[in-house]
């Protein structure tokens, strides 16, 4: 089939006498859905679709990753930047199982991805055929929806449904498995694609109920010590401006969750930092002093609440959340508002009274000052020779004016980055929060850069996590995209070491790494880089990284046994903050 026959950008098309194969139908569905980029890796059971892709090269940019996990995380990074589904294309069996980790990660962090995976021919299903694996069964608990296609005619409708489910309501991963036979067979009906707009069994509530909004407004208006926790839902709904308007009118202090970072300008006078295990002192402690707790697009993860039985018991809780199953799941809501963060804030805004709450806000300041004296000052302005992670991030934050997209891996560097990067621009954090997936950052940063090539995208990774997916340096090199990579190297699995030091009597059980020469590795992939270990060279080194118009790797040798504070030990009350 020639390219001219299939080249159409019409949202809906019916082309009589144009009977496509299943594989062509997949490609045409992607084009008509508005997909421009696919992250993938070919293999046996998906080869017919890759063959069809060859004819769609001018409409669909395919990026060949080095491992399917990389495709998944790249699709996540891409999705998080653009607020639309990232697409992965992989083969059956191990190709699909390698996607399991990104799918689980996307489920926990509400990231829309559509994973198209191959499967053996329909007549071989259930026979333990070569590269057959029950991926539908495996992915069931970690997908928002999954579906196995055995009939090519189903493809357009199922693809449309996949994107609708992945992107709408609380976003999440969708997996579509297509048997090789369904890819090869010719549809018996003309191809016709219509974007899905509703599903009878799935109706996410966007606009909140009026009475719920009124009840919430009443609580807010009577509050003396109100406190907002803004989560990922604010970024997903693109409600940052509404949030700003809302807090400026009501004078309510705001903390953002790890995934909600960058929802507020870090230097905004009403911004009080972040709550959680390594969050800010005041942001944690004052959770148990507020009288009305307003949670917006967040799910009261245990890393935020600590001990639930002592969490915000004094407060009336308003829970604004698009996913009704989150209401009352961990924290009982006195005023639940089911709906999208943007719609809810818009509805609330005219009902809330202007207020200031300056005395209450001043309480956060007291804790901030103590935190600054006991922690921040030591991290940023110490006398030692060795580089501390915090100062590296703080310099980076200054030099990028807080406007870069920051992608982190998981561990100490992740906490430190969120502590010291002063986000000034919305939607600028990509991190693995719920799943805590080491190896996430490198491919996710690449995906983010593909999504927003005009923004500076910087991956900050520990030496442990980097080695989990470092093969994606190859993908980055091949693309030529100037992804900037910082390894904060302390030669340890730092967070685990910190726990072993604090809670396991200093018994360092398998946390020290013999690391490779990261710069030689980068150079082997064709990526420039250098190592800095001297504090006096740190600033210049970060300049070199930022000034490069190519991908660049900066390895920063950090103090080996630095611990991250503040810390609320797992399962402890949020007022039990350790400062050292």
């Amino acid at each position: 089939m020639g390219k001219t026959q299939v080249a159409t950008t019409q949202p809906t098309s019916t082309q009589p006498s144009n009977f496509k194969t299943g594989a062509q139908a997949v490609m045409q569905s992607l084009v008509e859905q508005g997909v421009s980029t696919i992250f993938g890796y070919p293999g046996g059971a998906i080869m017919p679709t890759y063959d069809a892709l060859f004819d769609y090269r001018d409409q669909l940019k395919h990026i060949l990753v080095r491992h399917e996990q990389g495709a998944g995380h790249a699709a996540q990074g891409y999705a998080r930047m653009l607020n639309k589904a990232g697409v992965c294309l992989v083969t059956s069996g191990p190709g699909a199982t390698n996607l399991i980790t990104p799918i689980a990660d996307a489920m926990l962090d509400s990231t829309p991805i559509v994973c198209i995976v191959g499967q053996v021919r329909a007549n071989l299903l259930g026979t333990d055929a070569f590269q057959e694996c029950d991926v539908i069964g495996m992915s069931m608990p970690i997908t928002k929806w999954n579906y196995q296609i055995v009939d090519a005619n189903e493809i357009p409708e199922v693809m449309a449904k996949a994107f609708y489910i992945a992107e709408s309501g609380r976003p999440g991963p969708v997996l579509i498995e297509i048997t090789r036979s369904a890819q090869v067979e010719v549809m018996s009906v003309p191809f016709s694609y219509k974007k899905c707009e509703s599903i009878i069994s799935y109706k996410p509530r966007i606009e909140p109920k009026e009475e719920h909004v009124e009840a919430a407004a009443k609580l807010i208006n009577s509050a003396k010590r109100p406190y907002i926790l803004a989560g990922h839902g604010v970024l997903i709904a693109q409600a940052e401006n509404e949030l700003k308007e809302f807090v400026e009118k009501t004078g309510i202090p705001v903390a953002t969750t790890l995934l909600g970072m960058s929802a507020m300008d870090a230097d905004h006078p009403l911004y009080v930092g972040w709550p959680g295990m390594h969050g800010n002192y005041g942001a944690n402690v004052l959770t148990n002093s507020c009288d009305v707790l307003i949670a917006i697009g967040m799910r009261f993860d245990d890393r935020i609440t600590g001990d639930l039985s002592t969490y915000a018991k004094q407060a009336k809780v308003i829970h604004i959340e698009v996913d009704p199953s989150e209401i009352d799941k961990n924290v009982k809501a006195d005023a639940p508002v089911v709906g999208d963060a943007k719609a809810a804030l818009k509805a609330l805004l005219p009902l809330v009274k202007k207020a200031d709450h300056h005395e209450w806000r001043a309480e956060f300041k007291k804790y901030d000052d103590e935190e600054y004296e006991k922690i921040t000052k030591k991290d940023l302005f110490h006398e030692g020779n060795q580089i501390k992670m915090g100062e590296a991030v703080a310099i980076l934050s200054d030099k990028t004016k807080g406007e870069a997209v920051i992608v982190t891996d998981v561990g100490q560097h992740q906490m430190i980055t969120n502590r010291y990067y002063r986000f000034k621009k919305h939607n600028s954090i990509v991190t693995s929060g719920g799943a805590g997936t080491m190896g996430f950052a490198l491919p996710a940063a690449f995906g983010a850069k593909v999504g927003v090539p005009d923004r500076e995208v910087i991956a900050i990774i520990g030496d442990g996590g980097f080695q989990m997916t470092l093969q994606e340096l190859g993908t980055i090199a091949q693309s030529g995209l100037p992804v900037k990579i910082i390894i904060l190297n302390n030669n340890f699995l730092g967070m685990v070491r910190q726990w072993q030091s604090m809670f396991f009597d200093n018994r360092y059980s398998f946390v020290e790494l013999q690391n490779p020469d990261f710069i030689t590795i980068a150079k082997g992939f064709g990526i420039e880089g250098h190592t800095v270990s001297d504090r006096s060279q740190l600033s210049d080194s970060i300049d070199t990284l930022l000034n490069s118009d190519k991908p660049y790797l900066l390895e920063i040798i950090c103090e080996k046994e630095e611990n991250v504070f503040p810390m609320v030990p797992a399962g402890a009350c949020v007022t039990k903050v350790m400062l050292e």
């Binding site: 539908i136 196995q148 009878i200 069994s201 199953s325 799941k329």
Partner: protein
Amino acid sequence: MLTTYTISVFTTNTIGLLNRITIIFTRRRLNIECLTVSETERKGVSRFTIVIRNDNRESVEKLVRQIRKITDVLAVFGYLDDEIVFNEIALFKIATPLGAEPLDVKTINLDWNAKVVHWGLDYVVVEKNGSEEEINEFYAYLKQWDILEYIKSGRVAVGKTEKGLVEYLPEGNWEIV
């Protein structure tokens, strides 16, 4: 104290949905007492009746919300026993060899409201409808004979509401079976 909850789940008829639903019970370590699936009076709509025993109403409510979240689930209702009319069916295969004590069919019919549904050469099959307790009592009575096989269905239940539950499903062009 353990309370019995009957959860009625209405779904589109999709392959693998049973798995998706049971995964939620597994994750929350909830044991399913019994489960029945059938098509409803609406074409393409299946109804799962799931019975669980639990001492915490809140965790059952959370379970219901998690089930509702499944994309192919149309509606979920959780009930206490006094809110529904429910029944189960049991079959007993009883040995009746020559010379054995004959089965008291009259008592079985009149006192136990059960009936013989199949006469084999040296066995009979007795069917009994009723609540789990009634069936258990009948089982105890039948023990004086040699019970070769006993099987009991899951619960079927309808709500004691004015309208049928399907009336609460999302609006659509439902075809009546």
